[in-house]
């Protein structure tokens, strides 16, 4: 199984192509040099199709589509955009398309996109034309759910589609929380019970949380994991209360980070990459000593994995979309840093090596096959 690791960076789109053994990686690109690429996603229902969330420093946001595995691209004819505001209403405009998620296998052609400011959009034609999901964007509670308090705006991310029921959706909003819809996005309810929100006046608030990354396990869609601004969590539905599995991380390391990555087959295995969330939130690797942590028992315990990673003076930051796992029998795990390096493990994180250096700031890593 040949893999391509697509890299969305602040300055363009790159690809790392592996041989079948994943020993050598060949860097290709950049495509769209100078464009800001927030996310890349392959369509598992039509593997030749890739979507890219793009903008440039000057121009408005858009979505690009390839039907030939990234050789050629065409811009969406109707990119994600909010509806025109009524007189006297706050006028929202998509500043960036931040997240892309293909719909369920039973709905070929359906895609979802998340934006800043927090907006949800759907395409029914493979990413060509996008419509706002009014059930969220115009929800009467939206203005309260979304804490419009960060200068860079809120991010709508981690759009998760239940593979058993395409009408069952989850989204994460930083800052806002996790929300669930069981009717295809027509209505939404907060799903944040048990999650800490240490920064809010009411730490037990129903919403206003900061989920950095939420993932649903494809083999057990009742299980969700979350790397939050305030801890690592697991939720086994139909329960509604998240359990803080980050409590079992070493105290000196803590359980703050951006990404959380799930094993493609084993719902008990996940990887995180802790960062420094103390005092002024440096968001770098802790003490300059980067390490991935893995659980094999759904968060009851964690194992430090740093063989091959720099032993000191490596002040990594790894963003929420910049870590992923492949489908190989011996699972490959990958992460990209804001310093432009890509690190790979082909033994589930036991050891690491750098497979690309000196790239622009890495925003996302996505696998395609």
């Amino acid at each position: 199984m040949a893999s391509t690791l697509w890299l969305g960076t602040r300055k363009g789109l790159f690809a790392l192509r592996a041989d079948a053994q994943r020993r050598s990686w060949r860097l290709a690109g950049p495509q769209f040099l100078g464009h800001i690429i927030h996310h890349v996603a392959q369509d598992p229902r039509a593997p030749g199709v890739l979507l890219v969330a793009a903008k440039t420093g000057h121009l408005g946001p858009t979505v690009l589509r390839s039907a030939d595995r990234g050789r050629s691209w065409r811009e969406a004819t109707r990119p994600p955009a909010f509806r025109r505001a009524a007189e006297g209403e706050a006028a929202r405009a998509v500043e960036r398309v931040f997240w892309l998620t293909p719909g369920a296998a039973s709905e070929p052609g359906t895609w979802y996109a998340g934006s800043t400011p927090a907006g949800l959009f759907r395409s029914l034609d493979g990413g060509e034309r996008w419509e706002p999901v009014a059930g969220f964007n115009d929800h009467p509670m939206r203005s309260q759910w979304v804490l419009n308090g960060t200068p860079d705006g809120e991010f709508l991310h981690s759009i998760q589609v239940d593979p058993r029921d395409p009408r069952h959706l989850y989204i994460g909003i930083s800052i806002g929380g996790v929300f669930e819809s069981t009717d295809g996005g027509a209505d939404w309810t907060p799903l944040n019970e048990g999650c800490a929100a240490d920064f809010l006046p009411d730490p037990n608030a129903a919403f206003g949380h900061d989920p950095h990354c939420v993932a649903l396990h494809p083999a057990n869609p009742d299980r969700l994991y979350q790397q939050n601004h305030c801890g690592i969590y697991r939720l086994d539905r139909p329960a509604r209360r998240w359990e803080r599995i980050g409590r079992s991380m070493p105290k000196k390391v803590g359980d703050i980070g951006f990404p959380i990555v799930l094993h493609p087959r084993d719902p008990d295995t996940a990887w995180v990459l802790p960062m420094d969330g103390q005092t002024v939130w440096p968001r770098t690797s802790i003490d300059g000593k980067p390490a991935v942590y893995r659980t094999r028992n759904a968060g009851r315990s964690w194992q430090r994995l740093d063989r091959g990673l720099p032993a000191h003076h490596a002040w990594f930051t790894v963003l929420r979309q910049a870590m992923c796992a492949d489908r190989h029998e011996r699972t490959g795990v990958y992460f990209g840093t804001t310093g432009g390096d890509v690190w790979a493990s082909t033994n589930a994180g036991d050891s690491w090596r750098c497979i690309a250096r000196h790239l622009p700031e890495i925003y996302s890593l996505s696998l395609a096959y």
Binding site: H58, T62, A81, A91, A93, V94
Partner: protein, 88 residues
């Protein structure tokens, strides 16, 4: 008589590399509508869904900066689509 529209380089991928095109529009709205017909997708990169000029775009009719799309354009005028960005 048409106006000349000078297009900044970030938008040349839409105009097949042309840095200047002619347009018969009598207002900025008409000029941008004309550009969109000829170069699909270009308008949304310049104007957002609320009909506002995007933050890093400046539109000038000759030497006058336009704040919205109602600005009149006359034959022989030059419309400048300028991209303004700071930092790295």
């Amino acid at each position: 008589m048409s106006c000349t529209v000078r297009i900044a380089s970030p938008l040349h991928s839409y105009t097949a590399g042309a840095a200047a095109v002619e347009s018969p529009g009598a207002s900025l709205a008409e000029v941008l509508g004309d550009l969109e017909r000829r170069f699909p997708g270009i308008r949304f990169r310049i104007i957002d869904e609320q009909e506002r000029i995007r933050p890093h775009i400046k539109l000038f009719v000759n030497t006058d900066e336009a704040r919205d799309l109602t600005a009149r354009v006359h034959g022989g005028d030059t419309v400048h689509v300028i991209c303004a960005l700071s930092g790295g």
